[in-house]
């Protein structure tokens, strides 16, 4: 049986249950998504954007789904402790794909005009907040993961920051995976920053059980005029976890956005990030750091679409691959006709530490305007012998010297994190990770892959 078939059958059999436990705004696109999924199926590796990840194989195993929205017997506020010290955040949880609002201790107070809530609840209570945006960027006809997610997603996260509101404290969303059987979670995220709004958002993925998890996440992010968004996504799960995340960002004029992807431990991770610069003078910075070992597979696929003149984009992705890890980076920068005065820089640097680690790097420039400054660079290599020698000469043992160099290598990405406490914490986590120690938050489930 082809891997698509089980999802098609699942949807056909449970269409009513899925719709009953969701909101009309979400249900409205389901049927079309289903048809798109049926006609397209999972992309094969012949498709340029899925060249490095076998999607059908990842979706082939049988996972359970919580279509009836049974509540998960866990209070993450008690069970989970995020150990980023000194980071004062407004903390929210999404358990699997449900926004958690059970027994909440210290519900954070937010300024007026800021809504952080369950997507399906907001879509029922205020459809006018959701309908104009939902499915507008993540079209189901464009991508099979979008189609599958739109077809099955029942809930997720909704964030709205009203015009000119500045969210003073960073918001932290913790996606907790918790189940007693292998589970598939389809999470949907909608973030709308109205003109002039500002927010820092930290999203962490954690697994509280060592079961296999398969997550699809589709996030649509709208950054209004003069708005400013910093989005940090940190993945710290385990080897049995598979994640497909599609993040779509649309930026209006004069807006600034930062998107950080930090993958420390996972099984198979595929992040697709599409950024559309649709207003002049918009600026996007994208950073990514991947530290992978074992048989981890991390594939970052990005597209920055410069549609109008005077926009800037900057991209930096760094990978450190150990053991049998496979890393892939494909970054496409598209400068459309008329998008003059575009400035775009893209860098991908990679370290392969073992022979069996494999890196694919594919930075791409597609340019249809002449008055632009665009560049990209990409390297695959190993640690600098001269630097190693220098350190050893000064009495630093070779292992320690290697570690320092690796650390400095990733440090370039981490130094761009503007949340000081998070940056310090990540420095610490990455260092522990390189030392082969427990490189994860205390809240996660220990698994066999963690090197204790």
């Amino acid at each position: 049986m082809k891997s698509e078939q089980q999802y098609i059958e699942l949807y056909e059999a449970n269409r009513d249950v899925i719709c009953a436990h969701s909101a009309p705004a979400l249900n409205a696109l389901r049927q079309q998504a289903f048809l798109d999924f049926c006609s397209k199926g999972f992309p094969s590796q012949k498709e340029e954007r899925y060249k490095y990840t076998d999607v059908a194989a990842a979706f082939a195993p049988d996972y359970g789904l919580n279509l009836n929205r049974l509540s998960i017997p866990v209070n993450p506020y008690e069970a989970f402790r995020c150990d980023v010290p000194n980071l004062s955040t407004s903390l929210y949880f999404v358990v699997n794909d449900q926004f958690y609002d059970g027994a909440v201790r210290n519900r954070p107070t937010l300024p007026e005009g800021v809504v952080i809530d369950s997507l399906s609840r907001v879509a029922t209570a205020h459809p006018e907040w959701v309908e104009p945006y939902y499915g507008r960027l993540a079209r189901s006809g464009k991508d099979a993961i979008n189609a599958l997610n739109t077809m099955l997603a029942q809930d997720g996260l909704f964030i709205r920051v009203a015009r000119d509101v500045v969210v003073p404290r960073p918001v932290q969303i913790v996606n907790v995976l918790r189940a007693d059987v292998p589970l598939m979670a389809n999470r949907r995220v909608l973030i709308v920053l109205e003109p002039g709004a500002q927010m820092q958002l930290l999203v962490c993925d954690h697994a509280m059980d060592s079961h296999a998890f398969l997550t699809t996440q589709v996030a649509e992010v709208f950054v209004g005029e003069n708005a400013n968004l910093e989005l940090y996504e940190l993945e710290e799960t385990h080897a049995a976890n598979t994640r497909f995340s599609n993040v779509y960002v649309d930026q209006a004029a004069n807006s600034t956005a930062t998107v950080d992807h930090l993958t420390l431990s996972s099984g198979l991770t595929r992040n697709r990030t599409d950024v559309t610069l649709s207003g002049e003078y918009a600026e996007i910075s994208m950073y990514g750091a991947v530290v992978a070992d074992g048989s981890q597979h991390v594939d970052n696929n990005t597209l920055i679409d410069h549609r109008v003149p005077h926009c800037q984009s900057n991209e930096l992705y760094k990978y450190v691959l150990d053991d049998h890890a496979v890393g892939a980076f494909a970054g496409r920068v598209l400068v459309r006709e008329g998008a003059q005065k575009t400035v775009s820089h893209e860098t991908n640097a990679n370290l392969c530490a073992t022979r069996s680690a494999r890196m694919y790097s594919q930075p791409m420039l597609e340019i249809y305007a002449d008055d632009v400054k665009c560049s990209h660079g990409s390297t695959v290599g190993q640690l600098n012998d001269a630097a190693l020698f220098y350190m050893r000469q000064r009495g630093i043992p070779e292992d320690e010297a290697r570690l320092l160099l690796k650390f400095a290598f990733v440090g370039e990405v981490l130094s761009n994190i503007r949340l000081d406490a998070l940056r310090d914490r990540l420095h610490h986590l990455v260092e522990k990770r390189f030392r082969g120690e427990l490189g994860r938050c205390a809240g996660c489930a220990p698994t066999s892959t963690c090197k204790l």
Partner: protein
């Protein structure tokens, strides 16, 4: 005022005639259009080929029938009706006599004279031996005797099949098998003339070898096949040039070049490609769909591809190197110029298999008019290629706001001791540079020529001298006045 001048340059260039666009009125024997097993057999029979080669062609043809044309290039490819092309055209056949080889039609001699390729040895530049190929047949190969004294074989591939069948059989298809891709399969089925070069052990070829390809007949395609074998400690520099008449139809050119480089041997392969690019509205022009590959088999072998691509409506070409010999070195230098509606998707593949292999890629793209120019390259380092090293640099220059420049590099590294680097930039000629030149009394078009030549210098310097002069002129002609 400035604007007006600019426009007049553009008009001038747009109206400029393609210098090599004339046709030769010579009787040409053309077989019926269409492609079938019978046609493949007929080509083989016309060339008097042995059975093994016919079988090779037939296998390739049968495999080709199972394939679809590739669509992954960044190209708007017109659909090609493969049944509407004649696969064999012989301008050397006289209507009355049967075979009258040896005596060349004066019209043909004139044609090549006009192209600047004199076929009479006394007139030729002393340093270059030429194999002149028109449509499907090699017209003449010069300096053969002189080369033979050193043991060098330089002849058309049809002759090589007759005279050195063992050599051809050993190497043909060993670098580019017919299963490689759609156009390689097509070429393997219907290939006609091209050059065969064999440099024996320890011989340094005393002169540049070159092939000049010319498409003349209407409704035909050219499917040449070139095979170069350079034995241990040998050296050869090989040049290739090509032109075609102006026609309002697209003509197909699907060639294969195979190069085998043995221990400590060195091959330099230079191309100045100037097929008819189509008119300013994008009508006609040659579809240049070529598979070129070198296999660096021996220890410390060296191969260098240098290409100047100015012609063709569509270029789909990736001269590649398979570096299997330990310590082998490969280089790829390319200048690709596109103007009007031309499209180019070109680059290279460097496949590192041996230890301590090195490769360098320098690619310079220049786009003007409404053209699209893409670099596509692969650097692959296998798990046994310890100490492999690659450096790639791809620059694009945009002249005008309606053209496109694209870069699609692929890197696939499986060895922890390998180092691969890639960098690319895209920019236009800055107003400051132009102003600086203008201020010193250099006109805008001269300034552009100067800047473009400076930009392409890294590559042009790698060309043999006569070619470099030619290439520089070509760059000037292709781009004059197209600065926006």
């Amino acid at each position: 005022m400035m604007e007006e001048r600019r426009n007049s340059f553009v008009r001038e260039v747009a109206e400029k005639k393609y210098e090599y666009g004339f046709t030769t009125d010579v009787h040409t024997e053309i077989i019926e259009k269409g492609l079938s097993e019978e046609v493949v057999r007929l080509i083989s029979q016309k060339k008097g080929e042995p059975d093994w080669l016919l079988q090779f062609r037939l296998e390739a043809f049968r495999y080709w029938q199972t394939l679809e044309p590739p669509t992954w290039g960044h190209l708007q490819m017109p659909s090609v009706d493969f049944q509407d092309i004649s696969y064999y055209a012989d301008p050397t056949k006289k209507p009355s006599q049967g075979d009258a080889k040896g005596e060349i039609d004066p019209e043909l001699m004139k044609t090549f004279d006009k192209l600047g390729i004199p076929l009479e040895e006394r007139l030729a530049l002393s340093g270059t031996a030429v194999d002149a190929v028109m449509d499907s047949v090699s017209v003449k190969t010069t300096f053969r005797e002189k080369l033979r004294e050193k043991g060098i074989i330089f002849c058309s591939i049809s002759e090589a099949v007759r005279e050195h069948p063992d050599l051809v059989r050993e190497y043909l298809g060993s670098v580019v098998p017919y299963r490689d891709n759609f156009y390689a399969a097509l070429n393997s089925a219907v290939f006609s003339d091209g050059s065969f070069v064999y440099i024996p052990r320890g011989v340094r070829c005393p002169m540049e070898l070159s092939t000049y390809f010319r498409i003349n007949a209407r409704g035909t395609g050219q499917f040449e096949r070139t095979l170069i074998v350079c034995c241990d400690d040998a050296y050869v520099s090989y040049l290739e040039g090509c032109t075609a008449p102006m026609r309002d139809e697209n003509q197909l050119h699907a060639a294969i070049v195979e190069i085998v480089v043995m221990e400590n041997a060195e091959v330099k392969y230079s191309t100045v490609q100037n097929w008819y690019p189509g008119d300013a509205e994008g009508r006609g022009g040659v579809l240049n769909l070529v598979t070129k590959r070198g296999h660096l088999r021996g220890v410390n072998s060296r191969l260098s591809w240098t290409q100047v691509e100015t012609g063709s409506a569509i270029t789909w070409k990736y001269p590649s190197c398979v570096l299997s010999g330990d310590g082998s070195q490969a280089e790829f230098y390319s200048v690709a110029v596109t103007n009007n509606h031309q499209q180019a998707d070109t680059g290279t593949k460097m496949i590192h298999l041996g230890r301590n292999t090195r490769s360098t890629i320098i690619s310079k793209g220049i786009s003007a008019g409404r053209s699209q120019n893409s670099y596509r390259g692969l650097v692959k380092v296998g798990s046994k290629a310890d100490g492999a090293r690659n450096y790639s640099s791809c620059d694009s220059l945009l002249l005008g706001d309606t053209c496109g420049a694209h870069t699609f590099p692929y890197m696939d590294v499986q060895n922890e001791t390998a180092v691969a680097e890639h960098e690319a930039t895209t920019s236009k000629i800055s107003e400051d540079q132009l102003f600086y030149c203008n201020q010193r009394g250099i006109s805008t078009e001269d300034a552009v020529g100067l800047i473009v030549n400076g930009y392409a210098k890294d590559v042009l310097n790698k060309l043999p001298m006569e070619f470099a002069v030619e290439a520089q002129k070509l760059l000037g002609v292709s781009l004059e006045g197209s600065v926006g």
